[in-house]
């Protein structure tokens, strides 16, 4: 199973990338563990999650091919 993860705002600096393809990450909790393990700085960071371009709250299970976006606090205007 593969998912594509997109990073925005400060998370692009923390991860050094705009997107990454990940294997066998089945839910949001596993994605957070992966993120925290690989980029410890991200532990201090708050973010919302979008799956396939829709904002989602709560527990999330991923499907093969899902596009996950991690969105730090917004700063527009």
């Amino acid at each position: 199973m593969k998912i594509k993860v997109y990073f925005f705002g400060i998370l692009t600096d923390v991860t050094g990338s705009n997107e990454q393809e990940l294997k066998d990450i089945e839910n949001l909790s596993a994605l957070k563990s992966w993120l925290w393990r690989n980029y410890p700085k991200s532990k201090e960071m708050d973010f919302q999650v979008a799956v396939n371009k829709k904002l989602i709250e709560g527990k999330i299970d991923f499907k093969n091919g899902d596009e996950i976006a991690l969105l730090p606090p917004f700063a527009g205007g």
Partner: protein
């Protein structure tokens, strides 16, 4: 017919001529009052460094959905309202340049100021837009919105 624009994001600064163009293009004889908000990049000084420009980035697909949601919310709340226009910059915008236009138009002046303010607050809280402030020594920082 209620009026709302379609392209919410624009690469680079918003030019002063665009503001008059928007009003010129509306051509609605139902509008008797407009209220306009312009967001401008400010030369803040932080730790002895001065902001020279802001680079905005966004998640365009969600910006589009959420902006449509803002139109719906505000039009439902203010019956007299005829027009909402929102344009937000992406990419680099220098100090003194405009990065946001919000224009609302109504039959009468009553609701325009409240509708404008509420639209602006929704833009700040709902639209996935991020800003990187660049300083005069080429360093930068990611910033978050401050209340009002």
């Amino acid at each position: 017919m209620l009026l709302q624009n379609k392209n919410f994001l624009q690469e680079g600064p918003i030019l002063p001529d665009q503001i008059s163009d928007i009003i010129d293009q509306v051509k609605s004889f139902n509008i008797g009052a407009y209220a306009l908000f312009l967001g401008q990049v400010r030369a803040d000084t932080i730790n002895h460094k001065t902001v020279t420009e802001i680079e905005y980035s966004a998640y365009p697909e969600i910006v589009e959905n959420e902006t449509c949601g803002i139109f719906e919310t505000i039009f439902n709340q203010y019956n007299d309202l005829q027009l909402i226009h929102i344009t937000h910059s992406t990419g680099k915008v220098k100090v003194g340049e405009i990065s946001l236009i919000v224009l609302v138009g109504s039959k009468h002046r009553g609701p325009v100021f409240k509708a404008l303010e509420e639209t602006l607050e929704l833009i700040k809280s709902k639209l996935p837009v991020w800003k990187k402030e660049y300083f005069n020594d080429d360093s930068y920082t990611w910033t978050q919105n401050t209340p009002q």
